[in-house]
């Protein structure tokens, strides 16, 4: 059985059958490591290494993992902002990696991105109106009056006022700049948005504003999100399903409640146990799994299971044999030799 079929089956069990919008299959992005005067290739960083998952239309797939695990690269490759060195990507029935440049260009409006640092990607010399209107100018033939109306509509959708249209990015706070970035991302009515750490640079009191906005827009416009974040608490709040990455691999993927309440991979378990909760009484009673050691270098990952050097239950088998990414429970995919034991132990 293929990955898509089983994930589909799991989804349809839960209720109405779901439409797959994005399929990523055995996706790879290997970066050459060059050294010396002649810039000879001395190795590779397997930033994304055989990653497989589906994203259903209208859902939020959370993608979590520590720094360098390959989250951003995965998002960039799906949007074809970076090349794939292997695997397949299907977007709404299009074989993305086989598309001609003009077909890809025609598809681009449907896939957008929101970045972590709204400051870095907003041109400081452009007004808000021209920033938000730029995709409209590039991709749509519109009368300028219609365009202006659309810009005002977009600003309103993201909670900005029409009078903001003629100001410049530096006149706005971080949260407001993120709203400008969001308005631009939804300008062309996309199906799919990769949100790469959209709240990481924002003040705590502003994060909920932006998250609530993203949820409202999803509801209103039927958007599908890949929500990349290292904030596991926020991902629990946002996502329908969650994938956990470690050194270029997805180690676990499941419905949000399964992943948080019954994690089956030792890394997911440790990651969760490391996240503090804003409640002193809960904190005092928590048992912590403290992982030993540091995250290994992605250019020289451990053999077998990449997590084995820090895994509390690793055995010799983990060193010699790479665990298969398989469905251990309905809709719950895990890459660990001992996931079944974890499950039986009441994981």
């Amino acid at each position: 059985m293929t990955a898509e079929m089983t994930q589909d089956a799991a989804a349809s069990n839960a209720g109405e059958p779901k439409e797959v919008l994005v399929t990523v299959k055995d996706l790879q992005r290997h970066f050459p490591v060059r050294a010396g005067l002649l810039k000879r290739k001395v190795g590779v960083v397997k930033a994304v290494d055989d990653v497989t998952f589906d994203i259903y239309r209208g859902e939020t797939l959370g993608l979590v993992g520590e720094s360098g695990s390959g989250k951003t690269t995965t998002g960039r490759v799906i949007l074809q902002l970076d090349i794939a060195t292997g695997g397949d990507i299907d977007f709404a029935g299009n074989n993305v990696l086989a598309l001609s440049n003009s077909d890809l260009r025609a598809l681009r409006p449907r896939m957008q991105t929101i970045f972590q640092d709204p400051h870095a990607c907003l041109n400081p010399r452009m007004t808000v109106a021209s920033i938000v209107g730029e995709p409209l100018r590039e991709h749509e033939k519109m009368l300028s009056a219609d365009r202006e109306a659309r810009i005002h509509e977009l600003l309103k959708l993201v909670g900005l006022a029409p009078e903001h249209a003629n100001r410049y990015p530096h006149e706005f706070s971080g949260g407001q700049r993120q709203r400008i970035g969001i308005a631009r991302a939804i300008a062309l009515n996309p199906d799919f948005i990769v949100c790469d750490e959209p709240i990481a640079a924002l003040d705590v009191s502003i994060q909920a504003q932006v998250v609530n906005l993203l949820l409202e827009l999803q509801e209103e416009l039927g958007l599908t999100y890949l929500f990349i974040s290292h904030d596991l608490s926020m991902v629990r709040h946002m996502a329908d399903r969650v994938a956990v990455m470690y050194l270029g691999k997805i180690v676990e993927l499941a419905e949000v409640d399964d992943l948080y309440d019954r994690p089956l991979h030792p890394y997911t378990q440790a990651l969760q146990s490391a996240v503090p909760v804003p409640d002193p009484i809960v904190e005092r009673s928590r048992e912590r799994v403290i992982l030993e050691g540091d995250i290994p270098s992605p250019s020289n990952p451990p053999s077998g299971c990449r997590f084995r050097t820090r895994c509390p239950i690793a055995t010799e088998r983990c060193e010699s044999e790479e665990p298969e990414f398989r469905e251990v429970r309905a809709g719950q995919w895990v890459a660990c030799h001992y996931a079944d034991q974890q499950q039986n132990a009441g994981g």
Binding site: E66, A208, D257, Q272, P278, D279, P280, R284, L291
Partner: protein, 328 residues
Amino acid sequence: MDEVVLDVDGLHTRFRTQDGTVHAVNGVDFELRAGEFLGVVGESGSGKSVTMMSLLKLIPMPPGEITDGTARFGDMDLLQLDAQGLRDVRGGRIGFIFQDPMTSLNPVIPVGKQITEAILLHTDSSKAQAKERAEELLHLVGIPDPKQRLKNYPHEMSGGMRQRVMIAMAIACSPEIIIADEPTTALDVTIQAQIIDQVRRLQDELGTAVVWITHDLAVVAGLADRVLVMYGGRVVEEARVDVLYSNPQHPYTRGLLASLPRLDQQGHELVSIDGQPPNMLREPVGCSFAPRCEYAFDRCHTETPQFVEVAIGQKVACHFDLNKGEPR
């Protein structure tokens, strides 16, 4: 109650910049008791770092200027110390740990040498004793193979390892106080958990008073005995950790807690705080939170609320009594 080791009163710090005067710290009062763990939370720009750095004149002066206040530490006022006095206290009786270890570690000197130099500066140990102590310290902060590691340069270590070295340096001279400014913010969460676990154990062992600055309310929940909440350059609430999270009395604290997602819960709506943090270039008039506060009434916009005790060990700077639902 334990003895007060640090008593800060009416601290004011500002920066004169091209854009105008930044009113960074506008009357901060707090006490730190021996052996206690004090959390300081607040969002970016609320004055957490400047407050603590002002105490040892670690802010650039100019443009920085401490315009008022006292900071009693033993029998001295830290704010009155001369350069020599400051050097003795810094890294000696008060240790600092910063978010980015690279700002305090010298990149071209092996870490072992940096630790031994700190020890030699503040104690009368011999070179051999200092070296031995450095090794012992690295072991204490959980660095494997400390003898080898002493020879490493900072860039040869991971971020988590460097932060451990910073902790080792901070505790090297058995300080009475450690001030840690977002020491784990730049680290991955599994590494943060390692460092927090280490600090908790060290504090049990050494009994040093710790001030831990963070914007993450979850991090201090499990660490702190007491918490200060800062907003707009002031402490707006102070309480024992249990009370702060279960019965916050400042609308900002309450709003922050309601806006946080929780790992152990799903489905509750995040209630966001509308509006923006205050512009520190404006001289604060009234309560800095008033423009964003759902309870604000006319007095809030004109009169600065006093920081007063509303229950045993709980102080709040707010004109509105949340319990009674009416102005105080």
